[in-house]
């Protein structure tokens, strides 16, 4: 016998409809929740990007080594934490936007874009022409002394090219364009060990005994590794927000891994075949041995202090490649005090070279060279304002190259790379 019981069937159907309806409600609810989350995280991301744009613009709101909360649109909903911090010759900017359920933190290493007028050489006018010999190649506009450029014959080699300078020649002045004052102040602050209130200090001598490695995010406070004695890096990894300072000498071997760190000492020596990306600051000398590779963005900086020796130099050994800028600076040049950048054969520098004194160039510079004098040292003699088998080619400098703002000209700030 079949049972009719329509109420039972009706209840069963109602239950099914109720289940479908409730799953629809849940679907709509979660969909809305997800969309709200997306909107919130999207807004924080846009706000932190806007914060970065603010820091990259010409602004007076956030000064160097300062951090501030800014309400971007004065509506109370778009607050970001903005921070500018000097990082050697460059700058680190931090933009953090947050809401109740989401946050976005962007950290970038920034530098200066290259001026629109790309010059290959700026040679101060000391009433001596620039003489070219051998397979020397100069491509790009040049600022040269009034006496200009000429062919010369030395060491049994005369100039073998068709054109002395492949670019426009303009007259230089007696003095070089002065080095950017802000840059000098930044470097002095490292030399004088000016630390932030919350920065950490580690005794490097104890650290060396532990033979430990450190990786520090730029979101954290800076770690200073200080030593009054020589520091020898070997089989160690130091990456990120770390400044290493010795009062005597720092030796870097090729089996250590240094990325993005600052290294400061009166004398710095880098062993053959080292590879890394770092900024070196010295007050007496920097010596880079053969076949090293300093990746972008690296910087070699030599700056005179009251404790510096009379003769200061940066030596770059054969076969070394540097992607970054090299500069040696002293305020008051005198015959007793010399400052020199020595670039050996087969060295490739992609970036800017600036020396307020002498440059001895035997390798390749894909970028610009600014100096008071070129000095060519050969086994038999020393020649002033001579170049032999050297290449200076500004056309090979990448269009989007971002480096150090070496001179006072105002350049747009640009992102070098994103850091963690």
């Amino acid at each position: 016998m079949l049972k009719a019981s329509s109420l039972f069937y009706a209840t069963a159907i109602a239950l099914v409809i109720a289940l479908i309806s409730s799953s629809l409600i849940l679907f709509a609810y979660f969909n809305k929740l997800r969309l709200t989350d997306y909107n919130v995280s999207e807004r924080t991301l846009i706000n932190s990007t806007s914060g970065l744009s603010l820091l990259l613009s010409k602004q007076n709101i956030i000064q160097l080594n300062q951090q501030k909360f800014i309400d971007l649109y004065n509506e109370g909903n778009d607050t970001v934490l903005l921070k500018r911090k000097s990082w050697g010759s460059f700058e680190v900017i931090v933009s953090k936007a947050f809401s109740a359920r989401s946050s976005s933190n962007q950290i970038a290493l920034i530098g200066s874009g290259m001026p629109s007028e790309k010059k290959a050489i700026y040679l101060a006018d000391q009433d001596k022409p620039l003489s070219l010999c051998g397979k020397t190649v100069i491509k790009g506009d040049c600022y040269l002394p009034k006496s200009g450029v000429k062919r010369a014959y030395i060491e049994g080699q005369s100039f073998s090219g068709n054109q002395l300078v492949e670019g426009t020649i303009k007259e230089s002045s007696k003095n070089l364009p002065p080095l950017n004052n802000e840059l000098i102040e930044k470097i002095k602050s490292i030399i004088l060990k000016q630390m932030g209130e919350n920065d950490s200090i580690i005794d490097m001598d104890k650290q060396q005994k532990l033979n430990d490695s450190i990786i520090n995010s730029f979101g954290n406070n800076t770690i200073y590794l200080l030593s009054k004695e020589n520091i020898i890096f070997s089989n160690q990894v130091y990456q990120g927000n770390i400044i290493i300072i010795s009062d005597k000498e720092i030796d870097i071997s090729n089996n250590c891994n240094l990325q993005d760190v600052l290294v400061m000492a009166p004398v710095i020596e880098v062993e053959d075949d080292f590879e890394g990306s770092l900024q070196l600051f010295a007050t007496d000398s920097i010596s880079i041995s053969k076949n090293c590779k300093l990746n972008y963005p690296s910087a070699l900086s030599l700056i005179r202090t009251t404790k510096s020796h009379n003769n200061m130099d940066i030596f770059i050994g054969e076969g070394t490649e540097i992607f970054g800028d090299v500069f040696a600076y002293e305020e008051n040049l005198s015959p007793q005090k010399q400052i020199k950048i020595n670039i050996e054969k087969n060295v490739k520098i992609t970036g800017q070279v600036y020396s307020s004194g002498i440059v001895d160039l035997k390798g390749f510079v894909y970028g610009s060279v600014t100096c008071s004098t070129f000095l060519l040292s050969t086994p038999s003699s020393v020649y002033e304002n001579h170049l032999l088998d050297a290449t200076i080619d500004v056309t090979k400098l990448p269009e989007k190259y971002v480096g150090i703002n070496l001179t006072e000209t105002e350049q747009a700030k640009k992102i070098i790379k994103w850091i963690y």
Partner: protein, 116 residues
């Protein structure tokens, strides 16, 4: 013949009416929910508008076109406004507002962009 002789227990009229009412009620509530869910799909429209505004902001950046303009489409009217940001030299504040045909504000997008 056996089948015809079988006794079938019928439901009472009241039981049938209650069942019918119950099913109809559930069905109508279900339909209401369904319509609501479908209508709440304006979330999708909001998302669409947001992505559209984001695209316009990106184009403003890449084309360096920092001029006020109105963009009309079948469903939307978008107003673009660019003003100089306070205490800066080369920073612009971009505001994009999307309205529907009834003039109701659907979405607002703000971003700071570096100009020339």
């Amino acid at each position: 013949m056996d089948l015809l002789n079988k006794k079938i227990r019928a439901s009472t009229l009241l039981e049938t009416i209650v069942a019918l009412m119950l099913v109809m009620m559930c069905f109508s509530i279900g339909m209401m929910i369904y319509v609501n869910v479908i209508n709440s799909d304006n979330n999708r429209q909001k998302l669409h508008v947001h992505l559209l505004l984001k695209g316009i902001a990106f184009k403003t950046k890449t084309d360096n076109s920092y001029l006020d303009e109105s963009i009309e489409s079948e469903m939307l009217s978008i107003k673009k406004k660019v003003i100089k940001y306070k205490d800066t030299e080369n920073l612009n504040m971009l505001t994009l507002k999307a309205y529907d045909k009834q003039g109701k504000l659907l979405e607002e997008y703000k971003e700071l962009l570096i100009g020339d």
